[in-house]
């Protein structure tokens, strides 16, 4: 197996890459001590950031799931005019830098009459936690769409056909066969969307700004505290983000298979 110079070269590069990644994490973890870390986590500011991050990412993930299920189902099951174009547009956020998406959101909600109209209904997105949610949604929805589309495409439409002949409407058939059979895809997609939502920085910064104790999520907190030199708080935010990433990656891998998409 590993008997050629070429083989040894490729494995060495993989090993070096692993060392590189591990040293990044090690640097963060060793820059602080358990005692300082715990005190920082117990601080009011980090507590606020954890809560805001969990809240906004949970809501944006639920939104992504709710929208991606019907939208990806349409792409997986039906053929219609303009489907390729539609599918390309829905994939765009994958290629768009989050900062750019954020600027777009800021302009949409801050300068248009549509934004003003929403604002009249109390839906204010600019410089509010609501803006964080919409930013996470805009950046992550394409990932969720891709995962759900490939999940639905992997399930034969004949299950729904059989369910329909047994007395289901098309929607009941979907809810009772394809949807429960998509459980793994939904879990994997939900976890990755949630984890990306927690880490979302660029787009959220543009729309919601970085206001201490108002729109301060964990990545924003990391950014703010690094800027003003409070390393203890910054490291606390970083460590929590690392833990969340590891846990979600672990669950994601265990739910299997869908990692192939990336």
């Amino acid at each position: 197996m590993l008997n050629s110079k070429f083989g040894i070269l490729t494995v060495s590069i993989a090993l070096l890459l692993a060392i590189f990644i591990l040293s990044l994490i090690a640097c963060i973890l060793t820059h602080t001590s358990p005692h300082i870390l715990l005190t920082s986590i117990a601080s009011q500011e980090i507590g606020f950031a954890i809560k805001l991050s969990l809240f906004t990412s949970a809501i944006s993930t639920l939104l992504c799931i709710a929208v991606s299920i019907p939208a990806s189902y349409s792409l997986a099951r039906y053929n219609f005019f303009g489907k390729t174009l539609l599918s390309t547009i829905l994939d765009l956020p994958l290629a768009l830098p989050p900062l750019v998406a954020g600027v777009g959101l800021l302009l949409l909600f801050g300068t248009t009459s549509f934004g003003a109209w929403l604002s009249d209904f109390g839906l204010k997105f600019v410089f509010t936690p609501l803006g964080i949610i919409i930013a996470q949604f805009a950046v992550n929805i394409s990932f969720m769409l891709r995962i759900m589309r490939s999940t639905f495409e992997g399930i034969s439409p004949r299950y729904e056909n059989v369910a329909q002949t047994l007395g289901c409407t098309p929607m009941q058939a979907f809810l009772q066969t394809t949807l429960p059979m998509s459980k793994n895809g939904l879990m994997a997609g939900g976890i990755i969307t949630w984890s990306k939502g927690i880490g979302e920085f660029g787009a959220a910064l543009m729309v919601a700004g970085a206001t201490r104790m108002k729109t301060e999520t964990l990545p924003i907190s990391l950014y703010l505290n690094m800027s003003c030199g409070d390393l203890d708080l910054a490291m606390a935010a970083a460590v929590i983000l690392i833990i969340i990433s590891f846990v979600s990656l672990y669950i994601f891998e265990r739910r299997g298979g869908v990692t192939r998409l990336y």
């Binding site: 004949r158 059989v162 002949t165 047994l166 007395g167 289901c168 409407t169 059979m181 459980k183």
Partner: protein, 369 residues
């Protein structure tokens, strides 16, 4: 009488006063799905009939029954169920059940959950569902599997459960899409007998799609042969197999000397009664069977032949088909046998229509299925 049905009578000379109820009528159905299509298909299927749709892969057989089930809305044409136009009615309101080749059991439900699925949709009470599921599981011999999940079952078990799930709702029509094609030959044979038994028991109008002439011949009251999205012949198995109306069907069906009879087994041989004659086979199978003998396995002679072969009959040549090097002779010995011989021996023996001859074939050449 409502005005609409009067119009119907005037325009449909096909509907005559008959005692048989027409369960399904499709008129000029067309559907284009790109890869597969249906082209101007017209069919009528009577109540209680076991109807076979026979054709090679890609002939449009599955689209045809999926259109009957209502999965697809046809591009043109109409579907009638029990006299009512159901073309625009959802599958759930048609009372038509469907079984696919690859079972399509819901993997997240137990076997009992699968079988009871249709009853739950119809809001049948819990205890009644259980009673009906138990009854149908018993009928199909899957009672011991009810608590298991489909993933752990064999192909034959899965298909029995798929059939149970389809018939437990007591549909008006049962659609079977290649139900035996994914199974090994022993399981296929057993399940084929089971399908015949269930049909006899329930009397449900059944449409069975297959590419296997054996299935078609063994089960079908009538057969429709499909090719390239068109229905090219409809008739009883005898009509379709003995008098194919096109070269395609003759080539596709490709069998001669195909008979149905009833078999009795003794001393490790089967004796099959076909009309007035008895044929002996070394294939052991009793009950209602089909028999086929390859034309080239039959010997023909003008005199009585002394032979160890178990099957010997005499009759008259009714027809001679010259196929180039080979001549096919039809000999009527009570039932018509096709015998193949070389042109040379045909001429040497001085055979002709009307000649009285003797035919002989071995028990081992008699295929019973």
């Amino acid at each position: 009488m409502p005005f609409g049905s009067e119009i119907d009578h005037i325009h449909s000379p096909l509907i005559k006063m008959e005692s048989v109820i027409q369960m399904i009528r499709i008129e000029n159905i067309s559907k284009d799905l790109g890869e597969f299509k249906l082209d101007d298909a017209t069919l009528q299927i009577d109540e209680g009939e076991y109807f076979i749709i026979l054709g090679p892969t890609g002939a449009g057989k599955t689209i045809l029954i999926e259109t009957i089930a209502g999965i697809y809305r046809p591009d043109g044409g109409r579907v009638f169920l029990n006299g009512a136009d159901v073309t625009n009615i959802l599958p759930k309101d048609r009372q038509i059940s469907m079984v696919y080749q690859d079972y399509m059991l819901f993997p997240h439900l137990t076997v009992a959950g699968n079988v009871g699925f249709g009853l739950r949709q119809k809001k049948v009470g819990r205890s009644e569902i259980k009673a009906k599921v138990d009854e149908i599981a018993d009928l199909l011999g899957v009672s011991h599997l009810l608590r298991r999940y489909p993933g752990t079952l064999s192909g034959g078990e899965k298909q029995r459960i798929a059939i149970a799930r389809a018939v437990v709702t007591e549909p008006k029509v049962l659609l079977l899409d290649e139900p035996l094609s994914a199974l090994d030959s022993r399981t296929t044979e057993r399940l084929r007998a089971e399908l015949a038994r269930i049909h006899k028991l329930t009397g449900t109008t059944t449409i069975h799609v297959t590419h296997s002439f054996e299935e078609a011949f063994a089960l079908g009251d009538r057969i429709a042969v499909m090719c390239g999205g068109r229905i090219i012949q409809v008739g009883t198995p005898d009509e379709v197999f003995r008098r194919p109306n096109s070269k395609f069907i003759a080539d596709f069906v490709g069998v001669e000397n195909l008979f149905r009879g009833s078999s009795v087994v003794h001393d490790d041989i089967s004796e099959v009664r076909i009309d007035d004659i008895s044929v002996v086979s070394s294939t052991v199978k009793s009950g209602d069977v089909s028999v086929s003998i390859r034309p080239e396995d039959i010997l023909i002679s003008k005199r009585e032949i002394e032979t160890s072969a178990r099957n010997s009959f005499s009759g008259e040549i009714t027809e001679v088909k010259d196929m180039g090097g080979i001549v096919r002779v039809v000999v009527d010995v009570g039932i018509p046998f096709v015998v193949a011989l070389t042109k040379r021996s045909y001429e040497d023996m001085e055979l002709a229509p009307g000649t009285r001859v003797c035919i002989v074939f071995k028990a081992s050449a008699t295929h019973v299925f």
